[in-house]
């Protein structure tokens, strides 16, 4: 992916921005250009809740290019407080201590893969909520 493409998606990637449809009021992620529910193009950017619940997860041992050095890592299915679901990396917890149903919150983290020229990449991840 080119630097410009990485830059272009930084808002959703850094802040977990989705859309709210101004016609049917549905909220969704990832962001779109057309509402998948009613077809409207009147979509507003919408900040998604930063907290949610880990519905399920998997531990990844076979990684794509650039991620070989960080296996095993956890990918989770997170249901946010407004019901929107997101698949995302889970961080700040030992692989053995990840539990279904655990409360998680948004954080921004560095990825192992870098763009050409060494530009460091970041993305949304979720970590356990510390009570």
């Amino acid at each position: 992916m080119a630097t410009s493409a990485y830059w272009r998606t930084r808002i959703q990637r850094y802040r977990l921005m989705g859309n709210k449809c101004s016609s049917c009021n549905k909220v969704f992620f990832p962001p779109r250009l057309v509402c998948p529910h009613c077809g409207s193009v009147k979509l507003d950017e919408c900040k998604l809740p930063e907290k949610g619940r880990l519905v399920d997860y998997t531990v990844v041992y076979s990684a794509p290019k650039g991620y070989e050095t960080v296996i095993p890592y956890v990918i989770g299915l997170v249901e946010l407080e407004n019901g929107v679901k997101v698949v995302a990396p889970i961080t700040d917890v030992d692989v053995d201590e990840v539990k279904e149903g655990m409360e998680v919150e948004l954080t921004i983290r560095k990825l192992p893969e870098q763009l050409e020229g060494g530009m460091i990449c970041y993305t949304y991840k979720f970590r356990p909520v510390i009570k």
Partner: protein
């Protein structure tokens, strides 16, 4: 609509063909299909080329044009079709429509893929590239991890054990053991599968497809023309396609597989048959769990009963509904864009009585199920024996 037949097939073994280029693989399968029908390339009205990874792994785009040229077809219709794992079946679907509607009379569909020229990491990236990259690139999410979430949901919902689901791979290998074109023509025990490395928990390496090279070609034409040619042929009764949301998180349920249900129902209805009328099924098991779910969604058993059907033995060659009669994606092998064409060839071999030791008795109707992106695109093709 005009009736459509498959009159000839040609294919390479699925393997790691280090010594052959994508062009060489294509020409080999295409020439075999032509030779088996005693036809010349010049007699074709066009070719449909299914491929997924030539652009990213070989740096070769414009593939249909390149391959038509390599076959000496300089002035004939040629189109590339890319729909991930559904590419081969979708190419057949397009050819079927053209022949059925009188656009072209005699065509060749070829699926070709060369995945062995890539590292394991490049393969994971390539396989993952069928899902939305603007969204998922730079997250570390892989296609294996998405399949793993489906797998875990299934085990929990139906209270099943992984060992039961992994039986799908055992049976695939049992069928491939006597298949000359299989990439892995040997039996595998459940213990070996369950002790293999983990791709994404709980999926084991031996429950998933591996990188494959291969090329498969079929020649399709008007049913009347097939009779004129005097060749053994089978009818392509119907070809149905359905789509669903690509993002799993946007589906109501990870296990719903709406497109698969819809395409299957339309295929049965269009052909006027029920699942129990099928003589055999070639289904898309890129992961063992996806094969088990397909058994259920195709209506071969009820929800959550896929593993019972596997255990019953009815899906073996001697059973009431043989599944993946030459080893399926796991053991015959899965050159991604060619999968649907290999399945069609396997249906052809069964229905013309040329399946050798893998022959299903009294084979009359065969179904092929091909999918891309966890059944976000599904193509169901139904083949029938010609009297």
């Amino acid at each position: 609509m005009r009736e459509v037949a498959v009159v000839s097939v040609g294919y390479t073994r699925v393997s790691e063909h280090w010594e052959k280029s994508i062009k060489a693989l294509f020409v080999e399968a295409a020439l075999k299909a032509l030779e088996n029908a005693d036809l010349s390339a010049k007699s074709l009205d066009g070719i449909y080329v299914a491929n997924v990874f030539a652009g990213c792994l070989q740096g070769q785009t414009n593939l249909a044009n390149v391959l038509a040229d390599s076959l000496g077809l300089y002035d004939k219709f040629a189109i590339s079709i890319d729909a991930g794992g559904a590419s081969g079946a979708l190419a057949i679907h397009e050819a079927y429509k053209d022949v059925a509607h009188g656009v072209r009379d005699l065509v060749m569909v070829c699926g070709v893929e060369k995945m062995s020229e890539a590292s394991p990491q490049e393969i994971v990236s390539a396989l993952t590239s069928v899902v939305d990259q603007e969204h998922l690139k730079y997250t570390g999410i892989t296609v294996h991890s998405l399949a793993a979430l489906i797998y875990k949901t299934y085990l929990k919902r139906f209270n099943k054990k992984q060992e039961d689901v992994a039986l799908m791979s055992v049976i695939d290998h049992e069928h491939a053991a006597t298949c000359h074109h299989a990439q892995y023509p040997f039996k595998l025990s459940l213990e070996t599968i369950m002790s293999s490395a983990i791709l994404a928990d709980p999926i084991r390496v031996l429950e998933a497809i591996s990188p494959s090279d291969g090329s498969a070609a079929i020649i399709m034409c008007l049913h009347e023309k097939a009779k004129e040619l005097g060749l053994p042929h089978v009818k392509l009764v119907t070809s149905q396609i359905a789509r669903d949301r690509l993002n799993l998180t946007e589906r109501d349920d990870l296990l719903s597989m709406k497109a698969l249900v819809e395409a299957a129902q339309r295929a049965y209805s269009s052909a006027g048959i029920r699942p129990s009328d099928l003589s055999f099924v070639e289904l898309y098991d890129d992961y063992s769990i996806m094969g088990v779910i397909a058994l259920e969604k195709l209506g071969l058993c009820g929800p959550g009963e896929g593993v019972e059907l596997l255990k019953s033995g009815e899906v073996k060659l001697s059973g009431s509904i043989p599944v993946n009669t030459f080893g399926g994606l796991k053991a015959r092998g899965a050159p991604l864009g060619a999968i649907g064409v290999y399945q069609a060839i396997e249906a052809f071999l069964q229905l013309t009585g040329n399946a050798g030791p893998n022959q299903v008795k009294n084979a009359r109707i065969g179904l092929t199920h091909t999918s891309c992106g966890f059944n976000s695109i599904v193509v169901i093709n139904l083949f029938e024996v010609c009297c």
